[in-house]
């Protein structure tokens, strides 16, 4: 299974529990590539990571995705042939 890139966010009280972070870091094949005070960016197989986070009730998991600034400029969808 191909790895995906996911963002985990801690919603619990206080600081992020070290034990939770350790469990994510120790997930086979998972790599924590970035972090902030309340979040981790993890490259991992989706299934095992979701299963792990399901057991961590204070965490939210989502695939990392890209957002754009909305643009109103007209655009060509198909060039002339």
């Amino acid at each position: 299974m191909a790895k995906g890139r996911f963002v985990l966010r801690y919603r619990g009280e206080g600081v992020v529990p070290d034990a939770d972070v350790t469990r994510v870091q120790q997930l086979p094949g998972a790599v924590v590539v970035d972090s902030s005070a309340r979040m981790l960016v993890v490259e991992a197989d989706a299934g095992p990571l979701r299963a792990l986070v399901d057991g961590l009730p204070d965490w939210v998991l989502a695939p990392e995705q890209a957002f754009v600034v909305p643009d109103v400029r007209q655009k060509i969808e198909r060039p002339p042939t």
Partner: protein, 496 residues
């Protein structure tokens, strides 16, 4: 009292979660949800009276209620009871594949080889060539076929249109700065054809200045506003108090413009301190402006992680309002959590509804812990030759010169509208005219700053109650322009 418009079904919930309990719901919200456990008519207290609610079903004494409400009562509840959430009932249907369709290309006559046509874009002022203008040439507008490109230093752009001379249904030119955009229809072009753009006049009354004038110095003082965007450039009209760059791998202190100008334009709409005709003035020039760059250098997209991190940073920096002129894509639980956490910490996110031509409001604007903003335009606040002229569409307001921009998304989660058609603002080293809910959003954010500046709300403890008070003050300042709630929410802010 109803005005004859049909009632709609909504789920009425406490601000957080499905049940009103503990510290997550106000005592008033808990009391109402407990009282309204049985089907039948109920009343919700609002300032100066009450709103009639027909309870259809309940998921328990302290739980969410399925209710029916008249449109005006929806507006009253949203404006005056931000401790309660009203979510339109959504009926899901099986997904079906859209029908296939064919887009036809432009075929050159005779020989198959395509020919390029070189157009030149010049300024009306001295015929100076205009570089970096985005030129879009439609041979068939409906089929979206044609060619596009960006002008070089000589103002030239080479377009592969397949013929040495061709009739365009539409030609759009969007300059990077300093000039009005232009639309031309039914124009025959060939190499050497010149397109002449008119320079911006900073003393012109555009849509922003029509609705908000030129604010006095200091308007908005005491309010801290964060701009989560492409960064904000140093500019003579802008005072940037601080910020951060949350793009992975980039300097955290580099919150300057990423080369796309968007964030600098947004910031100017909120807080520019210039004086026309040599500069521009934003809606609330006295605010403390914070810049959070979430788009990498010259990048057009930002990661959900960078955005969520920027929201956290804005909360940590004690921003009262956060402007997010971005969105689209799939709902993201992590970004929603960041917006919810901001709400719980006393910071309100105000988000552009999106520019997908009357499509449903984009994520995250539609989230109930953010305010969604549509784009209003006004005839006479841009040249009739500007590209924005193409965005005039029904519905028109009580004043028939006002309209909701054709590009603006719409929906029942709309909270406010703001001027977003052909708006002049700051860009790196210059000024530019741009349209979008991206521009309407900071207009609404600036007006929100006006609404809360100098009020007791600013001194409240930073928690959900504070955010509820901000929302109440912001929405109380809104007045409808006559488009209807789906298009404008409670209307446009008239905060002074």
């Amino acid at each position: 009292m109803t005005n004859g418009a049909e009632s709609g079904q909504y789920v009425l919930l406490p601000r957080q979660g499905l049940r009103a309990k503990g510290t997550t719901a106000s005592p008033e919200a808990q009391e109402f949800l407990r009282m309204a456990d049985a089907p039948g008519p109920q009343a919700v207290a609002v300032d100066g009276g009450q709103v009639s609610v027909q309870v259809i079903d309940s998921i328990g004494p302290d739980g969410a209620k399925l209710v029916e409400l008249a449109p005006e009562d929806v507006l009253a509840l949203r404006a005056q009871r931000p401790d309660l959430r009203l979510v339109p009932v959504v009926y899901y249907q099986p997904a079906v594949a859209p029908p296939q369709h064919i887009e036809s290309g432009v075929t050159g006559k005779g020989a198959a080889a395509a020919a390029d046509i070189t157009l030149q874009v010049v300024s009306k002022k001295g015929s100076a060539p205009i570089a970096n203008a985005f030129v879009v040439a439609f041979v068939d507008f409906k089929a979206r076929t044609g060619a596009q490109g960006v002008t070089d230093e000589d103002g030239n752009v080479s377009l592969a249109l397949g013929q040495a001379s061709i009739k365009l249904q539409r030609l759009y030119v969007y300059p990077l700065d300093a000039h009005w955009s232009i639309i031309k229809k039914n124009l025959t072009v060939k190499t050497g054809t010149q397109v002449v753009l008119t320079p911006l006049d900073l003393g012109y009354t555009d849509g922003l200045r029509h609705f908000y004038g030129n604010a006095a110095e200091g308007v908005g003082a005491g309010v801290t506003v964060g701009v989560i965007d492409t960064g904000v450039a140093a500019h003579p009209d802008l005072v940037i108090a601080g910020g951060a760059n949350t793009v992975p791998g980039e300097d955290p202190k580099d919150f300057g413009d990423n080369g796309k100008s968007h964030g600098t334009h947004v910031a100017g709409i909120i807080a520019a301190r210039g004086t026309p005709p040599t500069g521009l003035r934003g809606v609330a020039p006295g605010v403390k402006l914070m810049a959070y760059r979430v788009f990498g250098k010259n990048q057009g997209s930002a990661s959900s992680f960078a955005i969520a991190k920027a929201i956290d940073k804005a909360v940590a920096d004690k921003c009262d309002l956060v402007n997010m002129s971005l969105g689209g894509g799939q709902p993201d639980p992590v970004m929603k959590a960041a917006i919810d956490d901001a709400w719980a910490a006393g910071t309100l996110c105000i988000v552009a509804a999106g520019n997908d031509d009357r499509s449903p409001i984009s994520f995250p604007a539609f989230e109930d812990t953010a305010l969604a903003v549509s784009a209003t335009g006004r005839k006479g606040t841009f040249p009739t030759s500007a590209a924005a002229a193409d965005e005039v569409a029904a519905p028109y307001g009580t004043d028939k010169n006002n309209f909701i921009a054709k590009f603006s998304n719409v929906g029942p989660q709309m909270d406010l509208t703001g001027p977003g058609v052909s708006i002049m603002s700051t860009v790196p080293g210059s000024y530019a005219e741009i349209s979008g809910t991206s521009m309407a959003c900071p207009a609404a954010t600036g007006a929100a700053a006006r609404a809360i500046a100098g009020t007791p709300v600013i001194k409240m403890k930073r928690n959900a109650r504070r955010t509820e008070a901000i929302v109440k003050a912001v929405l109380a300042a809104a007045k409808p322009l006559g488009f209807g709630p789906t298009f404008e929410g409670l209307g446009i802010s008239e905060a002074q």
